[in-house]
Structures are given as C-alpha cells and as structure tokens.
Amino acid sequence: MENKIYINGIGSISAQPGDVISWEAARLYHENIFPAISPNYKEFIKPMALRRMSQAIKMGITSAKIALNEAEIEIPEAIITGTGEGCKQDTEKFLENLLDQDEKLLTPTSFIQSTHNTIGGQIALNLGCKNYNVTYTQNSVSLETAFLDAQMQFSENPEINSVLVGGVDEISEKITSFRKLDGQLKPDPIKNTDLLKEDSTGTITSEGAHFFALSKEKKQNTYAEFQSVFMKNSIQPEKINDEIEAFLKINKLDLAAVDTVILGINGDNRYDHYYKNPQEKLFKNTTQLAYKHLIGDFDTASGYAVYLAANILKSGEIPEILKLNKLECSVPKTILIYNQYLGRDHSLILLSAV
C-alpha cells in the first residue's frame, strides 16, 4: 500500500513576486536574461556566511528554510536537490581565473563552491542534517528526478515522515550568455509577457529556487497531494499523447479527471509543437495554463509550475495571466504538469487537491 504524500511547505524564489494568487500585475522584463527577485537573505543566513555565497546557494538555503518553516519540520529525513547547471557563478569565476592566470596562483574558494552538490551540502550543513542527501543534474528533469527519489524514499522506509525536495538554478554573467550563441535564447530582446505570442527560435531565461517540504501527514495548511512523476529522455512528438495516457492509466485516472494542465511552452517555435498535440487533442476541453512568460525557462523552472499548481489547488483560484484558453474550471481538483526542453528530458507531474 503506497502512502499518500502531501506538500506542506513551499519556498519559492523567482523573477516574480510571491503570493501569485493575489497578484494584480506581473513583473515585466525587457531582456532575454533576467535575475530573480531576492528576498531579504539576512533573515535566513548569517551575514558572515552570506558574503561568500553565490546566488544559487543563497536561493537554495533560503527557499529550503521557508519550506521547512511552513511545514514545521526541523530536520527532514532526506534532502534531495535538483539543479540542471549547478553553481555556475563559482565555476565561471574559477575557470576564468585559471585561464587568465595560466593555471597559476589560484585560490580554492570558488572551486570548493563550484560542485553541483554544494547547494544540497550547504543546506545539510546549515540545518545540521546528517540524513540521506543527493543531487540530481539532468537538464530539465533534475527536479523531477529528485521528486521521484523522494517518492521512493517514502515507499521504501515506513519510518520516513518528511523529505525536502527542491530545484535551483542561477544565472551567471558569461555562461548564461553563451546560450545566445547556440540558439537557446531568442536572437532579439523581447518583453517576457509577449513570450507566448512569439514565432521565433529560442526562449528567455532567468533563475530561481523552489523547495518543497513533503510529508506523509496531511495538515490544516497542506497545499496539495503529490501524486506522481514520470520522466522520459526522448519522445517522438506524435507519441506524446500516448505517453500521457499511459501515465494517467498507471495512476488510475481518466483523462476527464484532469481538469487543469500546466504546460512548459517557452516560445521556441522549434519545440513548442510538443505541446500542440496534447493541447489540441487530449486537453481540448481542459483549462490550459503556461508560466514561462513570467519567469523565463531554466532547467528547474518546473519548480515554479509545481508551486503554481499547489497554490491553485489550495486556493481554488487560477490567476488570469496563466490562462492559455477560455475554458473555466470552477474548482481545480487535479493538475497535470508537462515540460520538456529542446525536445528532450520530458516530464509529467500529477498533483491533486486534498
């Protein structure tokens, strides 16, 4: 018998302000690379430690703490992190020094903090948490693999009550801008909220951190039930509907039971057709939402989709700015999230109301 898993706490840092449901207007950006809105990190991290930390570490620790505080968890029984591109700022710093100084007179600080598991390790260190700790780094399914691992933790060990899962990615000056060279970013700057109207190659990018406190116990302030996650490295565009139907079948759900889908449409006309099939067939009569016009696309951007889904399921309200079609869904009960990047690393996440 599988346990139910609930999302009891969320920490979200992105290019948009928090509390999405009560928003009046989205934050606008006119560059294709834009930063996250920083919370007051000093509330969460000691000033001495803060000075040495890159954006990814700051965002990671802070959003992890917000999620744990909200769920009233002191020490989770596992910390599972996803990051597609890891600690780019420190990597870039060490690499540039190495190349500029011809391998001479290097200091180790940025090297030490450059490894992908720095975020997860620093959260453990900050909490004094000696439990299970892993970091996944598989492009756009990094956070999804972390969710899968979390789900397995609960089913393997009946003693596990709480797991902290999150996704973090930061922008860095040079490495992020390389995306202009290989077509990952749009050739010309656009306004972020125009992203879904674009008919051009590439996307826009930003950064963020989303941590989720998962628990076996339902609480009064529980957001949603985390039902399932699925990922597949490559899928033919015409086969995507079959994969979605198979996933729903495994989870014993009818297509009609899904009342809202959140799609990872990122304005890249070379790959957005992956979403067309489910949009036009499976989910023709379903409320369709998108989010990358708000926060840009990055490997763990789907964390924002989970954050949105959890808030929608808790409040019963869907912000207008997310809607792709005119279909109204009175009380959202089951939300499916579908994401991919450059036609690879596809994922499906299923959440339901409690």
Binding site: I79, G84, E85, G86, T91, F94, L95, E96, L98, L99, D102, E103, K104, L106, T107, P108, F111, I112, Q113, S114, T115, H116, N117, T118, G120, G121, Q122, A124, L125, C129, K130, N131, Y132, N133, V134, T135, Y136, T137, Q138, N139, V141, S142, T145, L148, D149, M152, E156, K174, F178, R179, L181, D182, Q184, K232, N233, S234, I235, D299, R344, D345
Partner: protein, 396 residues
C-alpha cells in the same frame, strides 16, 4: 525481504586498463597507472595523475563516431565502458532500460577549451556549450546506445558513481525499471587538477593511502558501469554478483573536509549493513575510499574503528593504482569489488609502509587469496556526501 539486485554486466576503462580483464591483471600484478600528464595539456607536469593514454581521436574512432560529434572526453570514456558492460550482459535495450550516470564536472574539458571562444562570441564550436552541464554527457551516451527511457545524472562530487549505483538498485527493487546501466565517468581536466591543487591536497609523488606519511591524492580519470537487472528478466543469465546493501548519509561538517570522527562515513556504512541485513563480521573485504589525503584517511579509519572496533576486516584502497577518479571512483571500485568476489582475492593497497599513529590500522599490502562473500565499498565527497555499497556473492 527484497532479494539483492543482480549484476549481469560490467565495463571499465581506467589508467590500469581498457577493459575488465586488463584492470584485473594490473590489480593482481600490482601494476599502477600513475604517470605525468601527457594528454591533458597543463603546466602542472610535475603532478602525477592516473591518465588513460588514449587520445580523444582514437576513442572516437573506436566508437565509430562521425567527425562532427559532440562527445566530450567524459562521454567518450563513458561510452567505451558502457559498451563493454552491454556486451557482457547481452543487454536488451528497450523502453524499460534506464541509464543513470554519475559525473562531477561533466564536459568541463570542452568548456575549458572553448570558454574564451564563446566569450568572444565565436559560435563555431557552439555544440559544446551545453556540454558543460553533466546531463549533456549522460544524454549523449544514452543516445549512442539508443536508450530513450529513464535517463538521469547524479552529481554528488566523489560519491556520484556510488549514488548512481544505489539509485539504480533501488529503482529495480521498486519495480520502476527492468534493466538499468549505472556507474560514472570523469576525465582529467585543468579545472579539477587546478582546483585540487589550489586546495593543496595533491601529492607530488605517488599517493600513499592510509600511510602515516601520506601527503595527498593523485587525480585520475576513468569510467565504469554495471548492468543491473530485475529477477524476472534474468532467465539463465550468469549473475556476476549482487548489490545487497547501500547507505547514504551527510557528514554535515564542512563543504570539503571530513569530520574528525568520520560521522558521515560511519552512518553510511551502518545504513548499508542495515539494508543488506548483515552484521559487520560478515564483511570480508573493504574497498576503502582511501584518497591518501591527511583528512580523508584518518576520518575514514576512525569511522571504520567505530563500526568494526579493533577487528577491522581486510581493507585496501585501490586509488594508488588508478588515482582518484572523482565521480567515477565509486563505479570503478564497484567493478574491483566484484572482481574481488569473482576471484576470491583482496587487492593490494600500494605504497604503504607506516601505519597511521591515530588508528594503527594496516591495509592489505600484498594480493591475498581468501573466501569473500561480502565486500563493502566506500565513496565520500565534497558537500559531506557519503555513500557505502555492499556487493555480495551470488547465492549468499
């Protein structure tokens, strides 16, 4: 209780050989693979490394890659080792076949080569831009072998390979995959060599794991993979050994240093024995992490003492043969653990002369034949990530 997970294939490439057979021969002959860097273009020619003396061009030819391929060196080494593992297990690759790889810096070799070009806006080699991120290396290996299903990468520094093996075993047990290729790959890069050098933990001589006068590690490169299969998929396939236990814990002490009493290592070993359902007396051999840094070896010995008291089983570090291959280390040493079970031999810890004052522990220094049912393999990394695996003889 769940049955231990069957291993039906293994493949390896390291500084001591291009396949399992060559690695085994080097291990029993005490033939190390430490040399000066030749393929890696670095100013640090005086730092000994465990370098594989095959160029990227030759590796690409062996793999029949087209001229404009985007394999980094880690991907080349990875594909080379995966190929051997698949051949040995006669693996059927379909939608139910997964691939989980550990890597620390992914395609950093390409990034450090082209970084300046990219900074100047030159797009000629832009196919290597995404190569910096570990998932790219994994994906390109998966694509080479036609693996389209579950593909993921673990990056927990030097315990990545061990964690990849652990995740694969758990997914087989949970029924989420029928077959999975697990392991790790890392190549020598200027980034890691200079990184460890700036930390002042590289030795300028051949490393001496567990010796009182050890003065640092030698960096190495390599790749190794295992094929894990669910029980119902086995049919009459020979089983090389089984993964019976695994444990993962965090030291939560310091980003790069191990705690003095080796708390993370202790917890990881304890958890591994718990999942295997065996007590510490059942462990016949420990393939230690043993990097030959002051800090690691004393912390690991402390942790061993806490688990095994005075009666530590035979242990050795094979890093004096291969160098420390970072994310691949746990995978290389998984292959060595399986060879140890297959041949009923403990491999020597090279370059040892004086026991550490703190523990007095003496590793096995000569090849030793003995009955071996269970081998414990340790992998610890930056970020406090500690993982221990237990490999067992089929039928034990």
């Amino acid at each position: 209780m769940n049955k231990a997970v069957a291993i039906t294939g293994m493949g390896i490439i390291s500084a001591i050989g291009n396949d399992t057979g060559e690695n085994y021969r080097s291990l029993i002959l005490g033939k190390h693979g430490i040399s000066s860097p030749e393929i890696l273009k670095t100013i640090h020619r005086d730092l000994p490394v465990g370098e594989i003396k095959i160029s990227n061009e030759t590796l690409a030819q062996d793999l029949n890659l087209p001229k404009n391929h985007s394999f980094t060196r880690a991907a080349l080494l990875g594909a080379f080792a995966v190929s051997e593992a698949i051949t040995q297990s006669k693996l059927k690759i379909d939608g139910g076949t997964g691939f989980i790889s550990g890597t620390s810096v992914g395609g950093m070799d390409a990034t450090e080569t082209y970084f300046k070009e990219f900074t100047e806006g030159k797009a000629e080699n832009s196919r290597f831009i995404r190569a910096q991120h570990p998932g790219f290396t994994t994906e390109i290996i998966a694509e080479h072998f036609g693996i389209t299903g579950f593909v993921s990468t673990i990056s927990t520094a030097c315990s990545s390979g061990a964690n990849a093996i652990m995740l694969g075993a758990r997914m087989i047990k949970a029924g989420k995959l029928k077959r999975v290729i697990v392991g790790g790959t890392d190549c020598l890069t200027k980034f890691t060599l200079n990184g460890f050098n700036s930390l002042m933990i590289l030795s300028d001589e051949h490393c001496k794991p567990f010796d009182e006068n050890r003065n640092g590690l030698n960096l190495g490169e390599g790749a190794a993979y295992l094929v894990l299969e669910a029980e119902e998929e086995l049919n009459v396939k020979p089983v090389l050994g089984r993964i019976s236990g695994y444990g993962n814990a965090n030291d939560a002490f310091h980003q790069t240093a191990s705690s003095e009493n080796g708390e993370g290592a202790f917890l990881a070993m304890q958890k591994a024995m718990k999942t295997a359902g065996i007590s510490s007396e059942k462990i016949d051999y420990i393939n230690a992490h043993g990097t030959a840094t002051k800090n690691n070896d004393s912390a690991e010995a402390k942790a061993l003492k806490r688990i095994f008291f005075k009666n530590s089983p035979d242990f050795s570090s094979t890093k004096a043969f291969t160098g420390h291959t970072l994310a691949a280390a746990g995978a290389l040493e998984a292959v060595y653990s399986l060879l140890s079970i297959q041949h009923q031999e403990v491999f020597a810890n090279l370059n040892f002369s004086d026991p550490m004052d703190s523990s007095g522990f003496i590793p096995v220094t000569q090849l030793k034949a003995k009955p071996i049912d269970h081998v414990l393999s340790n992998s610890f990394g930056f970020g406090g990530n500690c993982t221990s695996l237990i490999f067992s003889k089929n039928g034990e």
